[in-house]
Chain length 209, copies 2
Amino acid sequence: MNFKKVPLTAIRRLSIYARMLAGLEADGKQQVSSRDLGETASIPSTQVRKDLAYFGQFGKRGSGYSVKELGFRLRKILGIDRAWNVALVGAGNLGRALFSYPGFSKQGFRIVAVFDNSPGKVNKSWKGTRIQSIKELSKTVREKNISIGIVAVPASGAQEVADEMCKAGIKAVLNFAPKRLKVPTGCMQANVDLAIELENFSYYLSKLR
Amino acid sequence: MNFKKVPLTAIRRLSIYARMLAGLEADGKQQVSSRDLGETASIPSTQVRKDLAYFGQFGKRGSGYSVKELGFRLRKILGIDRAWNVALVGAGNLGRALFSYPGFSKQGFRIVAVFDNSPGKVNKSWKGTRIQSIKELSKTVREKNISIGIVAVPASGAQEVADEMCKAGIKAVLNFAPKRLKVPTGCMQANVDLAIELENFSYYLSKLR
Protein backbone atom coordinates (compact mmCIF):
# COMPACT_ATOMS: atom_id res chain seq x y z
CA MET A 1 0.00 0.00 0.00
CA ASN A 2 1.41 3.33 -1.08
CA PHE A 3 0.20 5.76 1.56
CA LYS A 4 0.73 8.75 -0.70
CA LYS A 5 -2.03 7.51 -3.01
CA VAL A 6 -4.69 7.57 -0.29
CA PRO A 7 -6.72 10.78 -0.71
CA LEU A 8 -6.82 13.17 2.23
CA THR A 9 -10.62 12.99 2.23
CA ALA A 10 -10.39 9.22 2.82
CA ILE A 11 -8.14 9.76 5.85
CA ARG A 12 -10.67 12.21 7.18
CA ARG A 13 -13.41 9.61 6.79
CA LEU A 14 -11.28 6.98 8.55
CA SER A 15 -11.27 9.32 11.56
CA ILE A 16 -15.06 9.42 11.42
CA TYR A 17 -15.30 5.62 11.20
CA ALA A 18 -12.89 5.28 14.14
CA ARG A 19 -15.18 7.51 16.22
CA MET A 20 -18.29 5.54 15.25
CA LEU A 21 -16.53 2.31 16.18
CA ALA A 22 -15.49 3.66 19.58
CA GLY A 23 -19.13 4.56 20.20
CA LEU A 24 -20.34 1.13 19.07
CA GLU A 25 -17.74 -0.61 21.25
CA ALA A 26 -18.86 1.44 24.26
CA ASP A 27 -22.42 0.32 23.48
CA GLY A 28 -21.31 -3.33 23.55
CA LYS A 29 -21.79 -3.96 19.79
CA GLN A 30 -19.61 -6.72 18.30
CA GLN A 31 -20.24 -6.57 14.54
CA VAL A 32 -21.04 -3.72 12.17
CA SER A 33 -21.85 -3.52 8.46
CA SER A 34 -20.35 -0.96 6.08
CA ARG A 35 -23.87 0.42 5.69
CA ASP A 36 -24.35 1.02 9.41
CA LEU A 37 -20.84 2.41 9.71
CA GLY A 38 -21.47 5.00 7.01
CA GLU A 39 -25.06 5.80 7.84
CA THR A 40 -24.65 8.17 10.79
CA ALA A 41 -22.15 10.22 8.85
CA SER A 42 -24.21 10.06 5.61
CA ILE A 43 -21.44 8.20 3.80
CA PRO A 44 -22.58 5.53 1.28
CA SER A 45 -21.55 1.95 2.11
CA THR A 46 -19.66 1.67 -1.21
CA GLN A 47 -17.49 4.60 -0.10
CA VAL A 48 -16.86 3.00 3.30
CA ARG A 49 -15.70 -0.23 1.65
CA LYS A 50 -13.52 1.67 -0.82
CA ASP A 51 -11.89 3.72 1.94
CA LEU A 52 -11.08 0.63 3.98
CA ALA A 53 -9.81 -1.25 0.92
CA TYR A 54 -6.85 1.16 0.66
CA PHE A 55 -5.50 -0.51 3.78
CA GLY A 56 -6.13 -4.17 3.01
CA GLN A 57 -8.77 -6.71 3.87
CA PHE A 58 -11.09 -6.09 6.82
CA GLY A 59 -13.99 -8.30 7.81
CA LYS A 60 -15.75 -11.01 5.83
CA ARG A 61 -18.18 -10.64 2.97
CA GLY A 62 -21.72 -10.78 4.35
CA SER A 63 -20.87 -10.75 8.05
CA GLY A 64 -19.54 -7.21 8.32
CA TYR A 65 -16.66 -6.08 10.49
CA SER A 66 -15.60 -6.87 14.03
CA VAL A 67 -16.11 -3.58 15.89
CA LYS A 68 -13.15 -4.17 18.16
CA GLU A 69 -10.68 -5.33 15.52
CA LEU A 70 -11.58 -2.69 12.95
CA GLY A 71 -11.42 0.04 15.61
CA PHE A 72 -8.00 -1.17 16.70
CA ARG A 73 -6.66 -1.28 13.16
CA LEU A 74 -8.03 2.13 12.21
CA ARG A 75 -6.48 3.71 15.29
CA LYS A 76 -3.18 2.15 14.31
CA ILE A 77 -3.47 3.37 10.70
CA LEU A 78 -4.36 6.88 11.89
CA GLY A 79 -1.44 6.91 14.32
CA ILE A 80 -3.78 7.50 17.28
CA ASP A 81 -2.82 4.25 19.02
CA ARG A 82 -0.07 6.30 20.67
CA ALA A 83 0.35 9.78 22.18
CA TRP A 84 1.58 12.87 20.32
CA ASN A 85 3.02 15.90 22.05
CA VAL A 86 1.62 19.21 20.90
CA ALA A 87 2.74 22.82 21.40
CA LEU A 88 0.09 25.54 21.51
CA VAL A 89 1.07 29.10 20.62
CA GLY A 90 -1.39 31.80 21.64
CA ALA A 91 -2.83 31.97 25.14
CA GLY A 92 -5.95 34.00 24.36
CA ASN A 93 -9.58 32.86 24.43
CA LEU A 94 -9.14 30.47 21.54
CA GLY A 95 -5.91 29.04 22.97
CA ARG A 96 -7.60 28.52 26.30
CA ALA A 97 -10.55 26.76 24.65
CA LEU A 98 -8.23 24.50 22.64
CA PHE A 99 -6.16 23.76 25.74
CA SER A 100 -9.32 22.59 27.51
CA TYR A 101 -10.85 20.82 24.50
CA PRO A 102 -11.44 17.22 25.64
CA GLY A 103 -11.44 15.87 22.07
CA PHE A 104 -7.66 16.25 21.69
CA SER A 105 -6.42 14.20 24.63
CA LYS A 106 -9.15 11.63 23.94
CA GLN A 107 -7.37 10.89 20.63
CA GLY A 108 -3.89 11.01 22.16
CA PHE A 109 -2.97 14.62 21.34
CA ARG A 110 -1.46 16.14 24.47
CA ILE A 111 -0.84 19.87 24.67
CA VAL A 112 2.37 19.71 26.71
CA ALA A 113 3.52 23.31 26.23
CA VAL A 114 1.81 26.70 25.80
CA PHE A 115 3.51 29.82 24.47
CA ASP A 116 2.64 33.49 24.17
CA ASN A 117 4.58 36.70 23.61
CA SER A 118 2.58 38.88 25.97
CA PRO A 119 4.46 39.69 29.20
CA GLY A 120 1.10 39.69 30.99
CA LYS A 121 0.58 36.03 30.15
CA VAL A 122 4.06 34.51 30.27
CA ASN A 123 4.73 32.59 33.51
CA LYS A 124 1.03 32.37 34.33
CA SER A 125 -0.12 28.80 34.65
CA TRP A 126 -3.02 26.80 33.12
CA LYS A 127 -3.82 23.69 35.15
CA GLY A 128 -0.16 23.22 35.98
CA THR A 129 1.17 24.12 32.53
CA ARG A 130 3.33 27.25 32.66
CA ILE A 131 2.79 29.66 29.77
CA GLN A 132 6.24 30.11 28.25
CA SER A 133 7.78 32.87 26.20
CA ILE A 134 7.85 32.10 22.50
CA LYS A 135 11.65 32.40 22.78
CA GLU A 136 11.68 29.07 24.59
CA LEU A 137 9.93 27.28 21.70
CA SER A 138 12.96 25.58 20.08
CA LYS A 139 14.39 24.33 23.34
CA THR A 140 11.03 23.00 24.55
CA VAL A 141 10.22 21.30 21.24
CA ARG A 142 13.46 19.33 21.54
CA GLU A 143 13.14 18.57 25.24
CA LYS A 144 9.51 17.47 25.08
CA ASN A 145 9.71 15.72 21.72
CA ILE A 146 6.94 17.87 20.22
CA SER A 147 5.96 17.14 16.62
CA ILE A 148 2.72 19.10 16.22
CA GLY A 149 2.07 22.81 16.69
CA ILE A 150 -1.23 24.67 17.02
CA VAL A 151 -1.37 28.33 15.98
CA ALA A 152 -3.99 30.26 17.96
CA VAL A 153 -2.73 33.81 17.53
CA PRO A 154 -4.35 36.65 15.53
CA ALA A 155 -3.98 36.49 11.73
CA SER A 156 -1.31 39.19 11.72
CA GLY A 157 1.16 37.08 13.72
CA ALA A 158 0.29 33.63 12.40
CA GLN A 159 2.89 33.30 9.63
CA GLU A 160 5.71 34.28 11.96
CA VAL A 161 4.62 31.68 14.52
CA ALA A 162 4.40 28.98 11.83
CA ASP A 163 7.91 29.89 10.64
CA GLU A 164 9.26 29.60 14.18
CA MET A 165 7.53 26.27 14.65
CA CYS A 166 8.98 24.70 11.51
CA LYS A 167 12.42 26.08 12.35
CA ALA A 168 12.15 24.54 15.82
CA GLY A 169 11.59 21.11 14.28
CA ILE A 170 7.81 20.87 14.48
CA LYS A 171 6.61 18.71 11.59
CA ALA A 172 2.94 19.68 11.38
CA VAL A 173 1.21 23.01 11.98
CA LEU A 174 -2.51 23.36 12.62
CA ASN A 175 -3.56 26.94 12.06
CA PHE A 176 -6.69 28.50 13.56
CA ALA A 177 -5.95 32.04 12.41
CA PRO A 178 -8.18 33.12 9.50
CA LYS A 179 -5.23 33.34 7.10
CA ARG A 180 -3.50 30.84 4.78
CA LEU A 181 0.07 30.08 5.80
CA LYS A 182 3.13 28.91 3.90
CA VAL A 183 5.44 26.34 5.42
CA PRO A 184 8.74 24.97 4.13
CA THR A 185 9.11 21.47 2.64
CA GLY A 186 9.22 18.89 5.41
CA CYS A 187 6.62 20.74 7.45
CA MET A 188 2.90 20.08 6.90
CA GLN A 189 0.15 22.56 7.55
CA ALA A 190 -3.63 22.59 7.72
CA ASN A 191 -6.05 25.44 8.24
CA VAL A 192 -9.08 25.24 10.44
CA ASP A 193 -11.45 27.87 9.18
CA LEU A 194 -14.39 27.80 11.53
CA ALA A 195 -16.52 29.95 9.23
CA ILE A 196 -16.40 27.47 6.34
CA GLU A 197 -18.90 25.18 8.03
CA LEU A 198 -21.26 28.10 8.45
CA GLU A 199 -20.91 28.88 4.76
CA ASN A 200 -22.16 25.42 3.89
CA PHE A 201 -25.24 26.37 5.87
CA SER A 202 -25.69 29.80 4.32
CA TYR A 203 -25.42 28.23 0.87
CA TYR A 204 -28.34 25.92 1.58
CA LEU A 205 -30.29 28.44 3.65
CA SER A 206 -30.12 30.93 0.77
CA LYS A 207 -31.76 28.35 -1.48
CA LEU A 208 -34.63 27.86 0.98
CA ARG A 209 -35.77 31.44 0.75
CA MET B 1 -28.70 24.33 -12.05
CA ASN B 2 -30.05 21.92 -9.47
CA PHE B 3 -28.36 22.94 -6.23
CA LYS B 4 -28.95 19.54 -4.65
CA LYS B 5 -26.58 17.95 -7.15
CA VAL B 6 -23.60 20.05 -6.11
CA PRO B 7 -21.43 17.98 -3.74
CA LEU B 8 -20.81 19.34 -0.26
CA THR B 9 -17.06 19.16 -0.87
CA ALA B 10 -17.47 21.53 -3.84
CA ILE B 11 -19.30 24.07 -1.66
CA ARG B 12 -16.45 23.83 0.82
CA ARG B 13 -13.96 24.54 -1.96
CA LEU B 14 -16.04 27.53 -3.15
CA SER B 15 -15.52 29.01 0.31
CA ILE B 16 -11.78 28.55 -0.11
CA TYR B 17 -11.82 30.20 -3.55
CA ALA B 18 -13.87 33.10 -2.15
CA ARG B 19 -11.19 33.65 0.53
CA MET B 20 -8.39 33.54 -2.04
CA LEU B 21 -10.24 36.06 -4.20
CA ALA B 22 -10.76 38.43 -1.27
CA GLY B 23 -7.00 38.26 -0.63
CA LEU B 24 -6.19 38.87 -4.30
CA GLU B 25 -8.61 41.78 -4.47
CA ALA B 26 -7.00 43.33 -1.38
CA ASP B 27 -3.63 42.95 -3.15
CA GLY B 28 -5.00 44.85 -6.16
CA LYS B 29 -5.01 41.86 -8.55
CA GLN B 30 -7.53 42.06 -11.41
CA GLN B 31 -7.35 38.67 -13.16
CA VAL B 32 -6.65 35.16 -11.89
CA SER B 33 -6.29 31.78 -13.59
CA SER B 34 -7.89 28.56 -12.31
CA ARG B 35 -4.36 27.28 -11.72
CA ASP B 36 -3.40 30.20 -9.48
CA LEU B 37 -6.73 30.04 -7.70
CA GLY B 38 -6.26 26.38 -6.82
CA GLU B 39 -2.55 26.47 -6.14
CA THR B 40 -2.44 27.90 -2.62
CA ALA B 41 -5.05 25.39 -1.49
CA SER B 42 -3.40 22.51 -3.42
CA ILE B 43 -6.50 22.06 -5.57
CA PRO B 44 -5.86 21.08 -9.23
CA SER B 45 -7.02 23.62 -11.82
CA THR B 46 -9.31 21.00 -13.43
CA GLN B 47 -11.12 20.71 -10.10
CA VAL B 48 -11.43 24.49 -9.80
CA ARG B 49 -12.99 24.70 -13.26
CA LYS B 50 -15.32 21.78 -12.53
CA ASP B 51 -16.47 23.32 -9.22
CA LEU B 52 -17.22 26.66 -10.85
CA ALA B 53 -18.97 25.01 -13.80
CA TYR B 54 -21.78 23.83 -11.48
CA PHE B 55 -22.85 27.45 -11.29
CA GLY B 56 -22.56 28.53 -14.91
CA GLN B 57 -20.01 30.32 -17.03
CA PHE B 58 -17.30 32.39 -15.36
CA GLY B 59 -14.44 34.10 -17.14
CA LYS B 60 -13.15 33.59 -20.66
CA ARG B 61 -11.05 30.73 -21.99
CA GLY B 62 -7.41 31.75 -21.87
CA SER B 63 -7.80 35.00 -19.98
CA GLY B 64 -8.84 33.63 -16.59
CA TYR B 65 -11.36 35.18 -14.23
CA SER B 66 -12.03 38.72 -13.12
CA VAL B 67 -11.08 38.70 -9.41
CA LYS B 68 -13.77 41.18 -8.51
CA GLU B 69 -16.60 39.62 -10.48
CA LEU B 70 -15.87 36.03 -9.51
CA GLY B 71 -15.51 37.03 -5.86
CA PHE B 72 -18.85 38.84 -5.98
CA ARG B 73 -20.61 35.91 -7.61
CA LEU B 74 -19.13 33.31 -5.25
CA ARG B 75 -20.18 35.35 -2.23
CA LYS B 76 -23.68 35.49 -3.66
CA ILE B 77 -23.76 31.73 -4.35
CA LEU B 78 -22.49 31.00 -0.84
CA GLY B 79 -25.07 33.31 0.69
CA ILE B 80 -22.37 35.42 2.34
CA ASP B 81 -23.33 38.57 0.47
CA ARG B 82 -25.71 39.21 3.36
CA ALA B 83 -25.71 38.87 7.17
CA TRP B 84 -26.94 35.84 9.10
CA ASN B 85 -27.98 35.97 12.72
CA VAL B 86 -26.50 33.25 14.90
CA ALA B 87 -27.30 32.00 18.41
CA LEU B 88 -24.49 30.58 20.51
CA VAL B 89 -25.31 28.15 23.31
CA GLY B 90 -22.57 27.53 25.86
CA ALA B 91 -20.71 30.40 27.51
CA GLY B 92 -17.57 28.50 28.53
CA ASN B 93 -14.04 28.86 27.14
CA LEU B 94 -14.99 27.54 23.73
CA GLY B 95 -18.11 29.70 23.56
CA ARG B 96 -16.08 32.74 24.50
CA ALA B 97 -13.49 31.96 21.81
CA LEU B 98 -16.17 31.47 19.16
CA PHE B 99 -17.89 34.69 20.26
CA SER B 100 -14.63 36.56 19.70
CA TYR B 101 -13.60 34.69 16.54
CA PRO B 102 -13.12 37.38 13.88
CA GLY B 103 -13.64 34.91 11.01
CA PHE B 104 -17.39 34.69 11.61
CA SER B 105 -18.41 38.34 11.39
CA LYS B 106 -15.96 38.80 8.49
CA GLN B 107 -18.16 36.43 6.47
CA GLY B 108 -21.42 37.94 7.72
CA PHE B 109 -22.20 35.53 10.58
CA ARG B 110 -23.23 37.63 13.57
CA ILE B 111 -23.57 36.03 16.99
CA VAL B 112 -26.50 38.11 18.19
CA ALA B 113 -27.46 36.02 21.23
CA VAL B 114 -25.59 33.89 23.77
CA PHE B 115 -27.23 31.32 26.05
CA ASP B 116 -26.15 29.22 29.00
CA ASN B 117 -27.93 27.31 31.76
CA SER B 118 -25.51 28.15 34.55
CA PRO B 119 -26.92 30.71 37.02
CA GLY B 120 -23.37 32.02 37.49
CA LYS B 121 -23.20 33.02 33.83
CA VAL B 122 -26.74 34.13 32.99
CA ASN B 123 -27.15 37.92 32.94
CA LYS B 124 -23.39 38.48 32.70
CA SER B 125 -22.45 40.42 29.60
CA TRP B 126 -19.91 39.84 26.80
CA LYS B 127 -19.10 43.07 24.94
CA GLY B 128 -22.65 44.29 25.38
CA THR B 129 -24.33 40.95 24.66
CA ARG B 130 -26.22 39.69 27.71
CA ILE B 131 -25.88 35.96 28.37
CA GLN B 132 -29.44 34.67 28.44
CA SER B 133 -31.05 31.66 30.05
CA ILE B 134 -31.60 28.81 27.62
CA LYS B 135 -35.32 29.18 28.46
CA GLU B 136 -35.36 32.39 26.43
CA LEU B 137 -34.09 30.62 23.28
CA SER B 138 -37.41 30.26 21.38
CA LYS B 139 -38.51 33.80 22.02
CA THR B 140 -35.13 35.27 21.05
CA VAL B 141 -34.84 33.15 17.89
CA ARG B 142 -38.15 34.61 16.70
CA GLU B 143 -37.43 38.17 17.76
CA LYS B 144 -33.94 38.30 16.30
CA ASN B 145 -34.65 36.25 13.20
CA ILE B 146 -31.95 33.70 14.03
CA SER B 147 -31.46 30.85 11.55
CA ILE B 148 -28.16 29.30 12.69
CA GLY B 149 -27.21 27.87 16.08
CA ILE B 150 -23.77 27.01 17.46
CA VAL B 151 -23.52 24.31 20.13
CA ALA B 152 -20.54 24.91 22.44
CA VAL B 153 -21.62 22.89 25.49
CA PRO B 154 -20.06 19.65 26.80
CA ALA B 155 -20.89 16.44 24.89
CA SER B 156 -23.36 15.31 27.55
CA GLY B 157 -25.70 18.27 26.96
CA ALA B 158 -25.23 18.73 23.22
CA GLN B 159 -28.15 16.66 21.92
CA GLU B 160 -30.59 18.42 24.22
CA VAL B 161 -29.40 21.83 23.06
CA ALA B 162 -29.69 20.80 19.40
CA ASP B 163 -33.25 19.56 20.04
CA GLU B 164 -34.17 22.88 21.64
CA MET B 165 -32.63 24.80 18.75
CA CYS B 166 -34.55 22.92 16.06
CA LYS B 167 -37.76 23.22 18.07
CA ALA B 168 -37.18 26.98 18.35
CA GLY B 169 -37.03 27.28 14.55
CA ILE B 170 -33.30 27.31 13.99
CA LYS B 171 -32.59 25.74 10.59
CA ALA B 172 -28.91 24.82 10.90
CA VAL B 173 -26.90 23.61 13.88
CA LEU B 174 -23.11 23.74 14.06
CA ASN B 175 -21.90 21.41 16.79
CA PHE B 176 -18.52 21.73 18.50
CA ALA B 177 -19.16 19.05 21.12
CA PRO B 178 -17.22 15.85 20.40
CA LYS B 179 -20.42 13.87 19.78
CA ARG B 180 -22.57 13.18 16.70
CA LEU B 181 -26.04 14.70 16.95
CA LYS B 182 -29.37 13.83 15.39
CA VAL B 183 -31.65 16.58 14.16
CA PRO B 184 -35.17 16.37 12.73
CA THR B 185 -35.95 16.80 9.01
CA GLY B 186 -35.91 20.48 8.10
CA CYS B 187 -32.96 21.15 10.38
CA MET B 188 -29.37 20.74 9.09
CA GLN B 189 -26.42 19.90 11.25
CA ALA B 190 -22.65 19.76 10.91
CA ASN B 191 -20.00 18.65 13.36
CA VAL B 192 -16.73 20.43 13.89
CA ASP B 193 -14.36 17.87 15.31
CA LEU B 194 -11.18 19.76 16.01
CA ALA B 195 -9.17 16.57 16.52
CA ILE B 196 -9.81 15.27 13.00
CA GLU B 197 -7.29 17.68 11.52
CA LEU B 198 -4.68 16.46 13.97
CA GLU B 199 -5.41 12.89 12.94
CA ASN B 200 -4.51 13.73 9.35
CA PHE B 201 -1.17 14.79 10.75
CA SER B 202 -0.65 11.72 12.94
CA TYR B 203 -1.44 9.52 9.94
CA TYR B 204 1.37 11.08 7.93
CA LEU B 205 3.73 11.51 10.88
CA SER B 206 3.39 7.80 11.69
CA LYS B 207 4.57 7.01 8.19
CA LEU B 208 7.65 9.21 8.59
CA ARG B 209 9.03 7.19 11.45
